[in-house]
Amino acid sequence: MSKQSLENNGGFVEHGLETDDCSIGEILRKRGVSRRDFLKFCSAVTAAMALPASFAPRVAQALDEVKRPTLVWLEMQSCTGDSEALLRSANPTVAEIILDILSVDYHETIMAAAGHQAEEALDKTIAAFKGKYICVIEGSISMKDDGVYGSTGGKSHLERARQVCGGAVATIAVGTCASFGGIPAAVPNPTGAVGVMEAVPGATVINLPGCPVNADNLTATIVHYLVFGKIPALDAHGRPLFAYGKRIHDNCERRPHFDAGQYVEHWGDEGHRKGFCLYKMGCKGPATFHNCPTQRYNDKTSWPIGSGHPCAGCSEPNFWDTMSPMYKRLPHVPGFGIEATADKIGLGLVVGAAAAFAVHGALNAIRKDKEPGNETKEG
């Protein structure tokens, strides 16, 4: 890691600000990436973009010719989980994505430069490549009290985001925090955390929520931009449709068990061991749009439901508040204490009404009515 960082730093200082005339294909060949591995990568990323396999040669051709873009990666209020997801990504490897495909000119976690040197480089990069670089943001942005709750290099996150996103050709918000505020934005949201779209309303933002972001989706988004020269089609929440266009529930490998009526009733029961549907354990797959079932994580090894845990709904806006409790189907009713469920309140309501009318009926039975007079009679 440290060796890579040093290498990256070398690249970062030496050619970070120069225009690199080599195409991505040339750089990869120079780095000794075989044609076979390159085409395998193109096929994988074509599948991730939900394009037919016949597009793979087009992707390869475009990547062969296109110049590598400059990319800056800003870290806001986050746990660095998305950087981790990227560094641990198997396809493409760290070396490929960071050193070869992308020119990452600024990334707080992995760059060797520090202090004023790093900040100066960032300023130079965004000035030299204004309107051409891609900005990646990880973490939410604090808005409360002029954003004093988060700062890097003496500037608040909000100020940095406005400065950097404003000059970027597009901003990719990776992870749920950068997309929608995520966990820092959960009630009571003490720092006034929001996602990039809300913090920088004028910027072109692509949201890639998830906790963490699926690095394959990030790669595919960047490749989509390189191949087609435009950002992918987005849904109402600014998420690329190729990755967030379908509900987890509708692509889930356990869906047949849902339709059949075979559910995990308790942790570790027979159904759980047999891989039955996790619906009754509070799975939020029916409320969550993400390509986890098909793309999976860590070189397509597994994903939450694949390993027997219900979906937490992490890629939806306000997931920490709206998707809780994690292991229950329905949220608690607000304003009725933490454990009050809709069923308890509803049953109380119905029983109360029945009791009230029973008493009313009894009172009516023992009391004598007056027949209406001719002047008041309508019927």
Partner: protein, 221 residues
């Protein structure tokens, strides 16, 4: 005036009665299947079974039936007789309606002893029906919004886009589930009141919902 003769009057037209009973049947089906969707039983014997699939199919079919019935009733409120008309459902806006509502409330609170007889719907009932109608709309919108998520970017999903921007999916689930109890509460009230008025008004309140005829002292105009 116990010996006063009463006249047969046609009050509830055929579409009104049909809508009423279709609503009732579909609400019973929707409540039972909806409950099984919300907290299902593990009744599938193999992965090839389709228990939940059928329960959901019945729920969605009943949902369409209910929606068609409700829309038909709204249309009929524009073309039906005065008892079915939309004006009856907003008694607040007429002096007569307000007066009758006060009398009805006083009777229900056991203050007045005189039954405020009404030929069609009484104003207190129509106020409850209007509230119920709002709950129905909420049920239909949340239900179809959740249903449409199986086909994102489809016509239904797109036309219900305003729902997704206002509510989270889990919020809609909670509202959809809880509103069922509000409808149960109404049903308790509704059956009790129909029973009570059948006894008090001597106008065949309950059987009028099957036959369409009520019995009144005044002859039909």
């Amino acid at each position: 005036m116990p010996n006063q003769p009463k006249f047969k009057r046609y009050i509830w037209e055929l579409p009104v009665r049909w809508c009423h009973w279709i609503n009732m049947v579909s609400i019973v089906i929707l409540a039972v299947t909806g409950f099984l969707i919300g907290s299902p039983y593990s009744i599938g014997s193999s992965a090839s079974a389709y228990a939940m699939g059928w329960i959901r199919f019945v729920h969605f079919t009943a949902a369409y039936l209910f929606t068609v019935s409700l829309v038909s009733r709204v249309i009929w409120s524009l073309i039906g007789n005065e008892y079915a008309g939309w004006r009856a459902f907003f008694p607040f806006f007429t002096a007569k309606g307000r007066d009758k509502m006060v009398k009805m409330t006083r009777y229900y609170l056991l203050i007045d002893k005189q039954v405020p007889e009404t030929i069609g719907h009484n104003p207190l009932a129509t106020t409850a029906y209007t509230t119920l109608f709002v709950i129905y709309i909420l049920m239909i919108l949340t239900g179809f919004a959740l249903y449409a998520q199986h086909a994102p970017q489809g016509i239904m999903h797109k036309s219900l886009g305003f729902m997704y921007s206002m509510f989270s999916a889990q919020g809609m689930r909670l509202a959809h589930h809880f509103s069922m109890y509000l409808i149960f509460g109404f049903v308790v009230n509704h059956i009790y009141s129909a029973w009570l008025m059948d006894i008090k008004e001597h106008g065949s309140e309950i059987s009028s919902m099957f036959s369409g005829y009520k019995f009144t002292v005044k002859k039909e105009d």
